[in-house]
Each structure stands twice: as C-alpha cells, then as structure tokens.
C-alpha cells in the first residue's frame, strides 16, 4: 500500500519487530528486542523525537533498524513515501544514506585515533558527491559552522587533541555533511561531562530550529529529553508504552511505568527528594518473555487481566498508551499513526 505513504510523511515505522534467538544447547528462546513499534515523523515540520527507556528496552535496536544497520524481522519502514525496509545496498548508499545519518554515543571510538578528524568530513563530502574538490573546503567549513566550530580550529588535529564536546560536535558535523533530513543520535551526550553536555543538546535544538533537520534523540536521560525534544516515546522491553508531546508524557505521565520512570529521575533540586520506594526487576530476560503486560510484576496498579493479555495501544488526547488501565476510556482521534 505505498500510495498511502505520501511525501508528507518523512519517516513512518509500521509494526517494526526484531526477534533475537538465544540458543541454550538444543533449546532456544525467542526474544523480542523490538515488538511491533509504530510511529511517524511528519515532513515539513522539523521536530526532535526522543526515544527514552532503560537499558535493554530496545531503543538502540530500533535506531539501528531505522538506519538500516540491523535487518527487521517483520514490519515496514517508509521514508519519504518509499518502502526502505529491504532497500538494495546500492540504492541505500545513493539516496537513503544521504538523507538519514547517524551520530553515535562515543565519538572517540567512532573516529580512528590515527586519522586527522577533518578527513572524515572531506571523505563524506566527496564520497556522497555533495561537493567537488573545488568547493569542498567551503562546504566543510560551513557545516562545521552550524555546530559552532570552524575548519581552522580542527584542521590537522587528531581526536586526542580535542575535548569530548568538540569531538561530538565534529561527529554531528560529519553527519550533516550530506545535508540529511533526519539525524539518528544514539545517546550522544551520555559520555560527556555535565559542563559540556548542554552544548551538544543545544546544538541539536539549534539544528532543528535554524537548519530544519529532524532528530531522533535516543537517550536514557529524561531531563535532557524534556529539554530538547518535542515528542517522546517511552520504551519498555521492546514496546513503546507511551508516546506523545514531552509536556504531556513527562508533565502528566499516564502509564504507570512512565510515572515510575519520571519519579526516579534524580532531580538536581534538594527540595524534590525521593520519598516512596521502588520495586526493581530481578532479571531482564524474565520480563521480555512474560505473557501479558511486561510491566505486570513491577506495576503498582496491576490487575488480573495484565498477567494474561497484552495491553492494546490506546489513543488518549493525541498520545499513545499501552496499558489496560485506560481500555475503558473512549479512544479519541481516528488516525492513530499521525503525529500530534
């Protein structure tokens, strides 16, 4: 049904699933790292979509499927109306990789310590044909300008000569060389010091506002997600359990998991200390394999049905919630895949 996916949708994720199989001798366990995830990003209205969750919630696997680094088990991905789920390698390079670019967690392991950092920018520009030998210097310098650096500052430098914040900005500049419409940033600030962290998050905000680039911002840090993002998807063991604007989801979380997650963020404010206690998961694999809701054993508002049936996706006032608590309330909005 490609005719349904108009040019107006930049990225559409439909029922995306990744199953990993773990073998124990002859037996094997199927393990849903990402389990039927749906969401979309509209074209023409740049936004930052945060994907947040604990480690092992499937957020990195989801990002890698969007980038084409991991083959989905089932489900479809559409980019600008084209199905890109099984795009041949040549077309992927010629078109898709120009449009969608990654930024990884640790810039020092993404760049070779033996190569000068600017060589990555030049190579990307020349390999993708976005600039020729004559104007490549200007293009690289302009791109570095968008992240607050200049070619003069980094020319001839090796990764060890730059700070973590500078390196991460070079990594973002490298991703921007091809003029992409979507950046997928996987934990771009978690390796950085507190005093440098905000400079990267501000760069992402600036890219969206001044340069109209969409960003998928993957993080476990809800505070920076709230600060930078427009919408947020909360992931739990492969599911998206709540998706909506950051003001809605983090302001008044509805899903019990989002509520616990929000209250567990250590706020830098001594007046907001934790009071009540939390229940922790005993082992990750147990939760992945559980029938019914994967949050049932830790949920403070668990009901009988939660232990048997997988909760449905429910739309309440423009946000998606996957929880049995809200099945009684009338769903509003007929087009569940449209972004709010």
């Amino acid at each position: 049904m490609p005719e349904l996916h108009s040019e107006e949708t930049l990225l559409q994720v439909e029922g995306l699933t990744k199953v990993f199989t773990i073998r124990h001798g002859l037996a094997s366990t199927r393990f849903m790292a990402v389990d039927h995830v749906h969401f979309s990003i509209q074209a023409g209205r740049p936004e930052i979509l945060a994907i947040a969750g604990e480690s092992g919630s499937g957020k990195t696997t989801l990002a890698q499927m969007i980038l084409g680094l991991v083959e989905p088990t089932s489900g479809n991905l559409f980019f600008k109306g084209r199905n890109i789920t099984h795009l041949p390698a040549r077309e992927r390079r010629a078109w898709f990789m120009k449009e969608v670019q990654p930024v990884f967690q640790d810039p020092f392991s993404a760049f070779s310590p033996l190569k000068k950092v600017e060589s990555y920018l030049y190579e990307t520009a020349l390999n993708f044909g976005v600039a020729d030998k004559k104007n490549v210097d200007t293009h690289v310098d302009n791109t570095l300008g968008t992240v607050g650096l200049s070619l003069r500052e980094i020319k001839g430098r090796y990764p060890n000569e730059l700070s973590g914040g500078q390196m991460q900005r070079v990594a973002i500049a490298r991703a921007l060389i091809t003029n992409p419409s979507l950046l997928v940033a996987d934990e771009p600030v978690s390796m950085l010091d507190a005093s440098l962290r905000m400079s990267i998050v501000n760069t992402l905000r600036d890219l969206k506002e001044a340069h109209k680039v969409n960003v998928i911002y993957i993080t476990h840090d809800l505070a920076t997600a709230f600060y930078a993002a427009d919408r947020i998807a909360i992931m739990l063991r492969g599911w998206v359990v709540e998706l909506g604007s950051v003001e809605q989801v983090l302001g008044q979380p509805l899903h019990p998991y989002t509520q616990i997650l929000k209250h567990s963020v250590p706020e830098p404010d001594p007046a907001k200390k934790w009071k009540e206690k939390v229940v922790l998961a005993r082992a990750e694999t147990e939760e992945f394999l559980r029938a019914g809701c994967k949050f049932a054993t830790r949920c403070p508002r668990v009901m009988d049905i939660c232990k048997q049936d997988v909760p449905p996706d429910i739309w309440i006032e423009g946000r998606l919630i996957k929880c049995h608590l809200y099945t009684e309330s009338p769903a509003s909005g007929d087009n569940p895949l449209a972004s709010s």
């Binding site: 505070a223 302001g251 922790l280």
Partner: protein, 327 residues
C-alpha cells in the same frame, strides 16, 4: 556529631618518568576536609578532576605512579584519630573492609562469574572473621533479607542476575561487616534511573542500619541533591567549594559551581541552559593561578597569578575564590 575522617592538606600526584621526561599529574592537590559521623558526604566534579584518586588515597590504595606527596588521612579508630598513611600493613588490614569499606566504580562486574553468590560471601567473610560455614551462611542470608534482596539471589550465579541486582549484591557484600565508613565511587553510574534509585535506597538503608558514614563520589548532581547531606565540589584536584546540599544548590558562590548548577536540565523547565565555555584543564598542565580562570567569566588579573585559598565564608560554607574572599 563528631569527625570520623579528616584529611590535612592532602597531596597525591601521579609521578611518572619516561625518556627522561618527568610528568606530574596533580590529581589531589592540597585537600583538607572533615567528615562527620553518620553523614553522607558527596564529592562532585567532572571526570578528571581527581574524585576517584581522592577516594583511593582515603582507602590507602596508593601504588606507583600514584604517590602521596604530603598531608594526612586520619580516621577515628577506637577513641583517637590515627593516620592510616603511616600505619603498618598489618595494622591497616584490621581496618580495611571491617571499619572502612569501598565500592569501586563498575562494581557490578566484580563478582566471580563461576561462583555462586553464596560462595563469594563465604570467601569474603572468612578472610575477615572466624565464623563457621553455617554461621557465615546465616549472616549472609539474614543480611540480604534485611536489605530486601530476594532469597533466591544467594544460590544464583552472577549471570543470572540483572545489572542492578548484581550492583546491590556487591554493595551488600562490601557492607556485611558493618563498616563505619563506606567510600562509594560512582555507585549509580551506568545504571538505569529506576535501578539507580534502588541503589540509593539501599545505601540509605545501610546507613540507618549500621550507622555508617558514606562518602559518595559521583558526577551526577541529581544523585547528590537526593542523597548527599554535604557536598564538596572538586575542580582540577582542588576543593573549590563545600557546603550543605541546600546551599550548594540554592546559593553557590564559586563561579564554577554556579555554572554547573545552572546548566542542569530540569523536568519542568525548557528555558535555554548554557554550558560552561572551554574544557576542564589537563591535570599535568594546569594554568597558573586559579585553575578555573581561563573559563571564568569574572576572572581578574589576580586570578591568573595567585591561587585562591579555601576560606570559610559563613558557618559551614567554604569557597576558594577571590570574588568572595573579598581581598
């Protein structure tokens, strides 16, 4: 309330020599602090500011190239203060783990993967006490039970437990002999927020139960706001500000602390937050005068030449900055 641990002008440098070039990294550079009994003292600062080295010296884990150049580390042993840096190894062995305990960074990876948790506990207790195997097992089981860890844990292998559970088992292991001082190095880093909260909950329980003093090193100001009672802020190996948690968060006086607090994102505020310009200095090549002056918006001529001393500016609040010492 009385002092249980104090340091006097403590200096510990990494001194190395390669091809005739001597390199000195001043990781702990003249730190004096006094930690009170049963308090949670937080040590804050960015990576490479000397937080972990300070903890190592407090635990006398001083092996070359780390060298203690000067100063004292005094613990209250019995009724009097004793300098652990001048003690003999035999004397110090009686204090380590029983009186002074340590949670290393990434401590969820320290459990032996081929041993059940029970055997790890037995090994640990056996090395420090003369209990029988049955008594050791009872002690371990009761302690884990008291801390609210599930009973099944004791017969599990480490790989059967989640990261957060392993972290909490390690914390239980390090505190089972009811130490008076627990030195915790980034105990919540690399954990998910919910697990992080569980770990802090556990440390608080241990503190109430064994009346321990906790020295908490972490770069996460959110954790400090939640758990620490007093905070010392380190910058480039020096203590630059120290006060109770309320004061550090609400009325910091050092420009570095002010910037650090102001840059923290909050869950109910989307207004623009700026990073501190520049980057932390390399500890082997510190700028002259105040180490923060190249990044400081209020830097004066004096700051480039002289190092500001840590001075008491009001009761319980110390800061090292010429702006506040008023000279």
């Amino acid at each position: 309330m009385h002092t249980i641990l104090e340091t006097h002008d403590l200096k510990a440098y990494y001194i190395s020599q390669a091809y005739g070039v001597r390199r000195t990294v001043k990781a702990v550079d003249g730190i004096s602090l006094a930690i009170q009994e049963n308090e949670v003292y937080g040590v804050a600062g960015e990576s490479g500011c000397g937080k972990s080295t300070l903890l190592k010296v407090l635990l006398r884990m001083v092996t070359p190239p780390l060298t203690v150049v000067g100063g004292e580390v005094n613990y209250e042993v019995g009724e009097q203060m004793q300098n652990i840096l001048t003690m003999s190894e035999v004397e110090f062995r009686d204090l380590r783990w029983k009186e002074i305990s340590y949670l290393p960074q990434g401590s969820m990876h320290v459990l032996n993967p081929v041993k059940r948790i029970r055997d790890t506990f037995r090994d640990f207790i056996k090395a420090h006490t003369t209990l029988s195997t049955r008594e050791m097992d009872t002690l371990a089981r009761d302690y884990l039970h008291e801390l609210g860890l599930p009973d099944k844990v004791i017969q599990s292998f480490p790989h059967q437990l989640s990261g957060g559970m392993r972290q909490r088992v390690t914390i239980a292991l390090a505190t089972i002999l009811a130490p008076r001082v627990v030195l915790a190095d980034e105990p919540t880093t690399a954990l998910d927020v919910v697990v992080q909260r569980g770990v802090i909950q556990l440390l608080e329980e241990i503190r109430l139960r064994s009346k321990s003093t906790i020295v908490l090193v972490t770069h996460d100001m959110g954790v400090h706001a939640n758990f620490s009672e007093r905070i010392g802020v380190l910058y480039a190996g020096k203590l630059i500000e120290e006060a109770d948690t309320q004061t550090i968060f609400n009325h910091p006086v050092h420009p570095y602390t002010q910037h650090l607090i102001r840059s923290l994102p909050k869950l109910d505020d989307k207004s623009i937050r700026l990073s501190i310009p520049g980057k932390p200095p390399a500890l082997d090549n510190l700028p002259g005068g105040c180490s923060f002056h190249p990044r400081c918006p209020y830097a004066m001529e004096k700051c480039k030449i002289e190092t500001p001393p840590l001075e008491l500016i009001e009761s319980g609040h110390r800061a090292a900055c010429f702006l506040v010492s008023g000279q």
